[in-house]
Symmetry: D2
Subunit: 438 residues, 4 copies
């Protein structure tokens, strides 16, 4: 049977279910109700009795809401579906008087906002999980202007963290045999090194490349995060040779290094629910098993906060920069400085030193100021090498001054590095980089 026929049948099954089991108003009419009525319906005893039919109606109703209606919906959730302070006070008093399993359970129940149960019921609908993720995506756009919605976000994060536990994710390799619809999403989600089209994509899925993604069973066609890997000889120092002009195909069995040159989160609605750490480590395991010749697993990463830090340096801490450094920073504002003959001579050395200092010393709340550095160092990777003119794309130049960093994932030192980093804020770095920073 053709796929579209199957969908047709499945949809009619769902419709039949709604007809059979639902007595409430259809989605259209639900939508006419106030958001409060919408929530009431699902949390009431009717929501329990209807199987999943009512949950589907609510999910459909949400999907049909305008932006303003969605805002009103979330505002209602924030205002009316939080826990009751009086109940919390009473429960915490009882716990204080007699701390124990029962009083703790009662207190736990008292602090749980009813909207969590609401979300759990929406999740029961067909595509319920997708609806929840979409809700959070909508919510995140409203949050900056309406902090009163924060409590709703806290609840969504709580639920999504539980549901997207790594034990429920599965790793899949993406290649040229993958469905076109999925590959189209991969192209759309690739933001680190955007793809120029299908030919670019096909090259990135060729025999000497790998792409892996995490999926959740409730979102079967939606990658959550994916990593692109190049199999090479020696640690790659620039990204353009990997993607724009990749040259001859390498026999994967002859590769000694796997370069993780792009990691992309796909769903805004899952921001803050972290998978990246697990993805990289799982892919290291997969590749090591498939290709025993691989000896080094390293990233080729941008330094996205470098130029901004340089700018702040110039502004705030004049005098701390040497003349040579000031000159180098000035050159960056020239267009095409990186192709000019003397850039190498004038800029390379001071800028590379500044970058080493930025990565090792620039802090924000006690952690590295650079977000990419924070991610990999926390994972236990080691800051290995700075690559001059590693990314000469417009984005690479304007964010990272063209520099790229190799972070090495060495299974032997990952746990030690992670512990030193978490406990003491210590950054694992190669001697070369440490020397540069002095």
């Amino acid at each position: 049977m053709s796929r579209s026929r199957l969908n047709q049948v499945l949809n009619s099954v769902a419709d039949a279910g709604r007809e059979l089991l639902r007595r409430g108003p259809p989605a259209g009419r639900l939508r006419e109700r106030s958001p409060g009525a919408l929530c009431e319906a699902l949390l009431s005893t009717r929501g329990e009795a209807s199987g999943t039919a009512l949950a589907r109606d609510v999910a459909d109703a949400y999907g049909a809401m305008s932006a303003a209606e969605k805002h009103a919906f979330f505002a209602t959730l924030a205002a009316d579906y939080g826990p009751g302070p009086a109940a919390i006070h009473a429960a915490s008093d009882r716990y204080k008087q007699a701390p124990g399993c029962d009083t703790l359970t009662a207190l736990t129940a008292a602090v749980e906002p009813p909207r969590q149960e609401l979300f759990r019921r929406i999740n029961m609908a067909p595509n319920g999980t997708a609806t929840i993720v979409a809700m959070r995506e909508d919510l995140l756009t409203l949050l900056p202007d309406d902090p009163s919605l924060k409590a709703v976000d806290v609840d969504l994060v709580h639920l999504l963290t539980s549901w997207f536990n790594r034990g429920f994710l599965h790793l899949e390799q993406i290649d040229w045999e993958s469905p076109a619809a999925l590959l189209q999403k991969i192209m759309a989600y690739e933001a680190v090194h955007p793809m120029a089209g299908w030919a670019d994509l096909q090259r990135r899925l060729a025999d000497d490349r790998r792409c892996f993604a995490f999926f959740h069973p409730a979102l079967p066609d939606e990658p959550l995060i994916f990593v692109e890997v190049a199999l090479v000889r020696g640690m790659a120092s620039a990204v353009q040779p990997l993607i724009s002009d990749p040259g001859e195909m390498l026999d994967p069995a002859k590769a000694d290094t796997a370069i993780f040159y792009a990691i992309n989160n796909c769903r805004v609605g899952l921001v803050g629910i972290s998978f990246g750490n697990f993805l990289i480590k799982q892919v290291v395991v997969e590749l090591a098993q498939e290709l025993p010749g691989l000896k080094t697993f390293a990233t080729l990463s941008p330094v996205p906060g470098f130029r901004a830090w340089l700018a702040s340096l110039v502004e705030e801490s004049e005098g701390a920069l040497s003349d040579q450094e000031e000159t180098a920073i000035d050159r960056l504002s020239e267009s095409d400085w990186h192709t000019s003959a003397d850039a190498e001579a004038d800029v390379r050395e001071p800028l590379t030193r500044l970058c080493a200092r930025y990565l090792l010393e620039a802090k924000s709340r006690g952690r590295p100021r650079d977000p990419v550095a924070r991610f990999h160092l926390r994972n236990g990777a080691r800051l290995e090498r700075l690559n001059w003119l590693g990314d000469v794309s417009e984005k690479g130049l304007s964010d990272s001054a063209g520099l790229l960093v190799n972070y090495v994932y060495d299974p032997k030192t990952i746990e030690r590095n992670h512990e030193s980093y978490v406990r003491e804020g210590k950054i694992a770095a190669s001697p070369e980089i440490k020397r540069l920073a002095q």
Copy 2:
């Protein structure tokens, strides 16, 4: 590639992962440690750094524990991995002073026991979810003798309820094309009307029968709950004709009634996480779609508490029983009473009336005393008919005095019945049964 080869490869992948990413002691040595050390290792910074390798070690270590070691493990979790009262007091005081999103979030964090995070990390291991379910199964056997473990169970229930949300379950039809290993489990789990072997099973999966189960993606080969259905003409009044001697196959297209004659929960570790409600309603939808000729969806259910209630009647409330009723109850202790010529005359009428009274009037904490009645009535079903000698198996006679009940799932009244039941304790019953009970 053969399945066993595939497993071999997958296992070697997992082993490679352990080798690659693990620096800690292997499972064997972990086991030698105290349970506290085991938990510490996973909750420490090392647990975070190791990807899922350490979680796998802990899951393996648990699997290798003796019963006594498991008890010690849970005792440690209960004693040392609960929330800190002092922290809770402080957080609840701060909330009392300034109720709001931040203080609520802090209080929520304070009341969450650290062992929840421990379980979440174990869940990340390959087969992690299976390990968690097995842990709860073990815990439930310890709980009656060691109530101090209750708090651990509360946490497991909290997590499992979240993870086994109906939105994550998928319905699958079980038939004779299903894997033998799965069918073997179905046979083992069938406790309502135990199966006599493969031939019995095959008949129960024939064209005029249906079997559906819920599965969770993290337990792909494990049915969670399944229902057996017979497609018949007219509402079946006895179960033996359906299973022991089913006679000729009926063309499913000619059936007008679907009889749900057995529902079985499969996993002890999931007791209290309810799926039955959803399963029945989903199967009603599926069958209505597949076979438009079906007009009635009804169960054929035991009355498991009936004989016990009769016994208590005799004991406690003498005088309340008529002579005829006393005689009828007495007859039940005779062997083979149900085949004797005069049973029909002496027993049928008084016993059926008593059963109607039992189902409509006997209460426990305000709800029907009979557990099967509680389940279906809460779901919104209607008590439709009592069937004399509906189940003459040993179990049927000793529990239900041979009676079986049809509960009807009528989509048009499910929600109304459910609401009346939940709000007012009202039992939906056919006029015939109401009359009997008077």
Copy 3:
């Protein structure tokens, strides 16, 4: 396990097989042998003993041959692997003396060329069928210059016809969820209305379009033939609105007509083994089942021989053309005649009449001269309508003078039309077209 890993394992299995079971020379050395030695090896007793290992070597050796070596290979097959005339004479004499089962069997054996057995053995190799199809593709390029190879082609056609029996083919719907690698082939094989790229392809696979292909189990990733269908309201009269600028998506449930606007054979090596007839009729069945609203199934087909026939008319049969017709034909040589204001007035009517005459009257060996007409009329379709400026692409103008034809597949008349056509050469045509031709 990732797909590439799986391939790796499968390859190593095959290699192990070769190692285990092969004692002969490896493919490299086989290639150094003469083609005769190559064939001998496989037809000898060794070929029988080696399982499929030797067949794989031969297939590999063929794959590595140069064009000249392939020619020599086929020449050897033609010269040395035909049946022996003496054996045929003897067998036919014996049959003549005593016609019967045994003498017939012997004669059948005598006329079968040994190269058929050779091909059957090559077919046993992994990818053996793909090798056979590739061999025929190679052979077809050699045939025009070397008619002595014809006998080899006869044998390949005999085998491929048997192996690609419609009973072994399966129909699959191609859509945007299909593997990118497959879609890329579809793009490459589309020659009727070439695709402009992935966006064009995606539109042709949208909800109001359908694409179906036949596959053979031994060539799992290779479409053999595919048809593109547009779901529309009313019988489409032009192709550019369907593909270049398709406008709004139509709800498929609202379509009343399925337009088969392109049918493409994919494999040169299967030329002459016909699937098109079965494909169209099967797709009619599929679509009628999926979309009960469809009332008409029609093609939108080119008239590829029309311009050539017009040219021959002008040349050969002067006098038979009216002045108006001559003028119209002359206009066709002007560039962009079809966009000029007076083309409609001058050209439309005479050209359409000429086209009707071409389709109904122009014959080649007793059958319609136009190859597309021959195909659809033989299938039992009806010549329904001529569409002025139905295809204004360069190809459409230069082959078909911009005209397109609707052939209607009406299940009620297919068999009757086919019989009249096959037996009497009668062409089923609409009254309108018949009128035009007068």
Copy 4:
């Protein structure tokens, strides 16, 4: 969607096809026609026009025929659908005058019976291939009593041999995860060492056992042939320890020998189309790849013709037997001779010697008289060892006098053994067996 629902949909698709495309009489009425009319309909121009609808009707009609109707059907095929002698004579005369590609093609066409085309068209029906195989199964039961049908069988064998080319078969491992319906067939087809039920089957599919089958894509649920393998240490000498009382499970990684203890052909309709050779060799490759510890691949095979040969010895060639041998043979007629205390002393040595002579010297048309020996020796295996009381089942005793033979498949000598056997009739045997036979 459930499997049964899917079937329902697929059937309705097929029915729709019949409705849409068929104008002929339905299966019921076809059946009322003479078999000749049935064949005519399909071979006529209508058969070509109807897509596959008419083929399905004919297949259905055949399925509904009585035994007598089937006989009449085949008799018609034999009498009326053979090739025409006159046409053959003419074609062979033309070939004699001018041997060449065209005259050969014409002669080939002349000798091909029209019933082959008939079968090819039936094969186009859904389940067409299954119908053809069933037809041959029916035919084989008629053949002994009606030799005039032989020509029809020749044609079926010709087609089936082409269609079941090893290149179209795929190997699948059967294990406890296989569908119950398939496993039930495996049980039914096992005739070498019949299974006692599901528990027996499960043991034969345990971790230290393997079962592999060949499947054809047109018969997806039907095994064609399967082999059962025990993974053991040392070459097994008796079959009962492998199946009846298999003792402890062996870790497959520790096995050094794979014992092929049963090979079963499944479909009577495919008798004479040989797969066994390929199956064994493919399984050797699979196992060698999966379990590198395996050093020996050997069968444990019956000697099914031994007792019959002994009986003929006694009858025909008295005097050639020694007294000891005569005594031993006499003992075989005693019940339970093999458990009596002196059997070992009296019978073992003379009988084993006789068996060695039987296998090495007893011939039928120049080949070994024993059919199992013929099969394995032709495959290139080596007669390795005779096992006294290797099979003490009733069947084992009555056919093989309780003896079992190990034939060793040694990849290094398979081709050489095969060649010596085919060319010179030479039997590869171990020195021990040769010594015994002297």
